[in-house]
């Protein structure tokens, strides 16, 4: 039993930041799928997690989208919750005192429609206790640019990162959108702009049609696809980004078990997030911590760090892509 917990699972996700973001293990509950922590506190031992990320917080409170907000898809789901949340002021009033009761680091995910609003929220969070880091969701429409998604453009992603960086000294994770045409370029721009770590992937935009009603199933028409169905896309993007930057990468997308988790670590992720997997299997994150330690021990590794990126030939070289040209477009 003691042998199973021997390998060092700890990881610092903000090595360039004096605050550090040192986690006792690399298993993080993903934004949107873990509420604000308390929803799962009666189901799992939350303090065993490496960290958790709050639902997406916006400058003002949002009622969210009309129903239906969720549709199942093959080995996955689509969601269009519409960022229902109490707003940044409602958040800081209620949750930091609750988070203070736990030892697990709590990370706040923020979303906005302007660079200034991102910075405003970061400045408010900077003054709060019990917040370990900020995760910036750049998969939002930039109103000043006609609603074009921040995260699809390296420059716009960098602008958000720079503004948040100057508003806070907290560890700063930027969560990339898989809708970017060249995700490695976005990652490199975000690194240059001062991010401490990069997380990916957010959901992919999808749609399902109700054939009987002859209309899209979701009230919002489109929604984010998540779950095992998107895992290969996520692993590929983590591989590409872990090549292009030297920052720690946090991988996510369809992780349902140890083998999935290992794929992400081998591709270059220093930590992973579990999202949809928690919905269907609340015990999964804690189980993964134990299974990961056991696997490392069995395979003769003394730390998680030893396996990060070992399937990735260009890991942390800062090259645009270690993949050959034809491989990179999947042929």
């Amino acid at each position: 039993m003691s042998a199973a917990t021997t390998p060092d699972l700890s990881v610092d996700l903000a090595p360039g930041n004096p605050h550090e973001l040192r986690l006792r293990n690399p298993i993080i509950a993903a934004s949107g799928c873990f509420g604000y922590g308390e929803e799962y506190a009666s189901i799992i031992d939350i303090d065993r997690l490496g960290a958790f990320v709050s639902k997406g917080i916006t400058p003002e409170r949002r009622a969210g989208n009309p129903m239906p907000r969720i549709v199942e898809s093959p080995a996955g789901m689509l969601n269009a919750i519409g960022l229902q949340n109490p707003g940044i002021h409602g958040f800081v009033k209620k949750y930091p005192p609750i988070w203070a009761r736990w030892t697990v680091p709590g990370i706040v995910n923020i979303s906005a429609e302007s660079v200034n609003d991102y910075a405003m929220m970061a400045a408010i969070l900077d003054e709060q206790p019990s917040i370990a880091a900020i995760e910036v969701n750049v998969s939002c429409p930039n109103i000043a640019r006609g609603g074009y998604c921040f995260g699809w453009d390296p420059q716009m992603s960098a602008d958000v990162t720079r503004a948040v960086r100057s508003a806070t000294t907290l560890p700063l994770i930027v969560k990339l959108s898989p809708g970017a045409a060249d995700i490695a370029s976005v990652a490199a721009a975000v690194e240059e702009a001062g991010a401490d770590a990069i997380s990916l992937i957010n959901t992919l935009v999808g749609m399902a049609i109700d054939v009987r009603r002859r209309k899209p199933l979701l009230a919002n028409y489109t929604g984010g696809v998540s779950g095992p169905a998107i895992k290969p896309i996520a692993v590929r993007m983590v591989y590409q980004v872990a090549t292009a930057v030297r920052l720690p990468v946090i991988g996510m997308g369809g992780i349902m078990g140890l083998n999935d988790a290992l794929e992400f670590f081998l591709a270059g992720a220093s930590a992973i997030q579990i999202g949809t997997g928690i919905f269907v299997d609340p015990g999964l994150p804690i189980r993964l911590i134990d299974e990961l330690a056991h696997w490392l021990d069995e395979e003769g590794f003394s730390s998680l760090e030893q396996i990060v990126g070992i399937a990735n030939e260009g890991f942390r070289t800062g090259e645009r892509s270690a993949l050959a040209a034809w491989e990179s477009i999947g042929i």
Partner: protein, 291 residues
């Protein structure tokens, strides 16, 4: 069999009074809410539906209240399809035998998988979840209105009401006689009134048409069924109500992911905003639901 008190206990804050109180999740500790059940029996009922009886830990049963539900895995382990759990409210609690019964009608892939289970097989459970039907302190006469498989939580509520010697009229509607619940499924003291679309049994027409005769008799009305039924119910009951009494507690059916209030995929639009039906529901006061 221990009597389960389902009456509201203790004072609640003013804000909470407007919606049925949330069942305190701290009563059922940690891992006990996620567990694996063994299928004990599968019996046909109401045409193509089945009564699925599964094992459950005594701790789960001791806290269970009528109207609460379980989020059930409806696939084999190792498969990711269909991915999401399916919410089922409890049809009957067998406290002495540590077992639960669910009413399952094969409709989509998840329910079909569940209806095909055999005794001895394992099924993953998360629950009990959500709030519950409340019996107001002064209520003696309870009217229940069920449509199709929506009768499930009302059967458990009837069981508990019968133990408390309350008077129950149970109205059920179905397309035809074969879709009805057998009277033997309900406690003896419950008056069972049925309606069928084709008139093969009881009143010819909708269950809600029968309801009008009992509104003034009832201290409290409970309903579970499709949303169009709630619209009709509201229209039938409203002209006879005095000071918004009797009120109508309805169980809102929503597809959901987590069942714990984290995803906010199962919200119900109410006069107080978008409310997660998995934690502050599934039972709502119909006056507060925007249909």
């Amino acid at each position: 069999m221990p009597i389960l008190r389902v009456r509201a206990a203790g004072p609640t804050s003013k804000k909470d009074e407007r919606l049925p109180p949330v069942t305190p999740s701290t009563e059922t500790t940690g891992a006990s809410r996620e567990f694996e059940s063994r299928v004990l029996s599968v019996e046909p009922i109401m045409g193509d539906a089945v009564l699925l009886t599964v094992s459950a830990p005594p701790a789960v049963l001791s806290h269970l209240q009528p109207g609460q539900f379980f989020n059930i895995v409806t696939r084999f382990s190792g498969s990711f399809d269909p991915l999401l759990r399916r919410p089922y409210s409890v049809y009957r609690a067998h406290r002495d035998d540590s077992a639960l019964t669910f009413l399952v009608r094969p409709f989509g892939r998840g329910s079909s998988w569940l209806a095909e289970r055999l005794p001895g097989e394992r099924v993953g459970m998360l629950g009990p979840l959500g709030n519950s039907f409340e019996i107001p302190d002064r209520a003696q006469r309870l009217l229940m209105v069920g449509g199709g498989v929506g009768v499930a939580p009302l059967v458990m509520l009837s069981d508990e009401a019968a133990l408390e010697k309350l008077d129950v009229v149970f109205v059920m509607g179905a397309a035809n006689e074969s879709g009805l619940l057998s009277a033997s499924e309900l406690p003896d003291r419950v008056e069972y009134v049925v309606a069928t679309d084709d008139g093969t049994r009881g009143h010819r027409g909708l269950a809600t048409e029968v309801v009008a005769d009992f509104v003034q008799w009832a201290d409290q009305i409970y309903a579970c069924g499709p949303e169009p039924m709630y619209r009709t119910l509201r229209a039938v009951v409203e002209p006879q109500r005095i000071n918004r009494r009797p009120s109508i507690q309805v169980s809102m059916e929503r597809g959901m992911a987590c069942g714990l209030g984290a995803c906010l995929g199962c919200v119900v639009e109410t006069t107080h905003g978008m409310i997660a039906s998995c934690v502050k529901g599934p039972v709502f006061d119909l006056d507060e639901v925007i249909l």
